[in-house]
């Protein structure tokens, strides 16, 4: 079974600061990796995803993430945050059946609550 670890539960930054949110997963096989965001009062929505190919993936709103297989990590980055980035961020993983994982459902981390101060 997979597990996901998000190192920072709460992060407070000022506008224009750079952001990096850590995510590590445990699973030995092929995985799909995701970052979801939940803005206050809104649904979970996908920021970006990695299935295969270039390990540096770009998502919406200027976010990007890098898959480092040797470190089992998929950290989320943004060079300059805005007040509107205040939200809860979730890293998630699944091990699709074609990789032998047999798990279509996502395994989520506990989330990081990001507050951007104007």
């Amino acid at each position: 079974a997979q597990s996901v670890s998000q190192h920072n539960h709460h992060v407070i930054l000022s506008e224009a600061a750079s952001l990096e949110l850590g995510c590590n997963y445990s699973y030995g096989g092929t995985v799909n990796l995701f970052w979801y965001v939940q803005y206050p009062g809104q649904h979970l929505q996908l920021l970006l995803k990695y299935f295969s190919g270039d390990p540096l993936v770009k998502g919406i709103k200027g976010f990007e993430a890098e898959f480092i297989k040797s470190k089992f990590s998929f950290n989320l980055r943004k060079p300059s945050v805005q007040w509107s980035d205040t939200a809860e961020y979730f890293c998630a993983v699944n091990a699709p059946p074609y990789s032998g994982g047999g798990a279509d459902g996502l395994t989520f981390g506990k989330g990081t609550h990001l507050i951007i101060q104007p």
Binding site: V4, N32, Y36, H43, P96, A103, D104, L106, T107, F108
Partner: protein, 116 residues
């Protein structure tokens, strides 16, 4: 187009009662997922449907929880003999099941269940 919808948005019930939570997925999405999110936690996988059948129900915590999707569209999550520990936000997601893997999961707004 419409997103995933869930009803009711809030449900308050008493310990021991039976509840049903409904999910209406995005039209054409063959895959449907239920998750449960407790306070301060990430969503926790419960069950996955591909079409009408439950392809993976390994996340259901016990036999008080059951879900159906009789026509391959709307799904109902049923909880019998509710307990205070069942209080959580129940999330539904749907996706296109793409060959070689899964498509992006689109989440609904959730049903907040409170068991008194």
């Amino acid at each position: 187009g419409a997103g995933v919808s869930q009803t009711p948005s809030n449900k308050v019930t008493e310990k021991g009662k039976y509840v049903e939570l409904r999910c209406d997925p995005i039209s054409g999405h063959t895959a449907l997922y239920w998750y449960r999110q407790s306070l301060g936690q990430g969503p926790e996988f419960l069950i996955y449907f591909q079409g009408t059948g439950a392809a993976d129900d390994s996340g259901l915590p016990n036999d008080r929880f059951f879900a159906v999707r009789p026509e391959g569209s709307v799904s109902t999550l049923k909880i019998q003999r509710t307990e205070r520990g069942d209080s959580a936000v129940y999330l539904c997601a749907s996706s296109l099941r793409l060959a070689g893997g899964m498509g992006e999961q689109f989440f609904g707004p959730g049903t907040r269940l409170t068991v008194l």
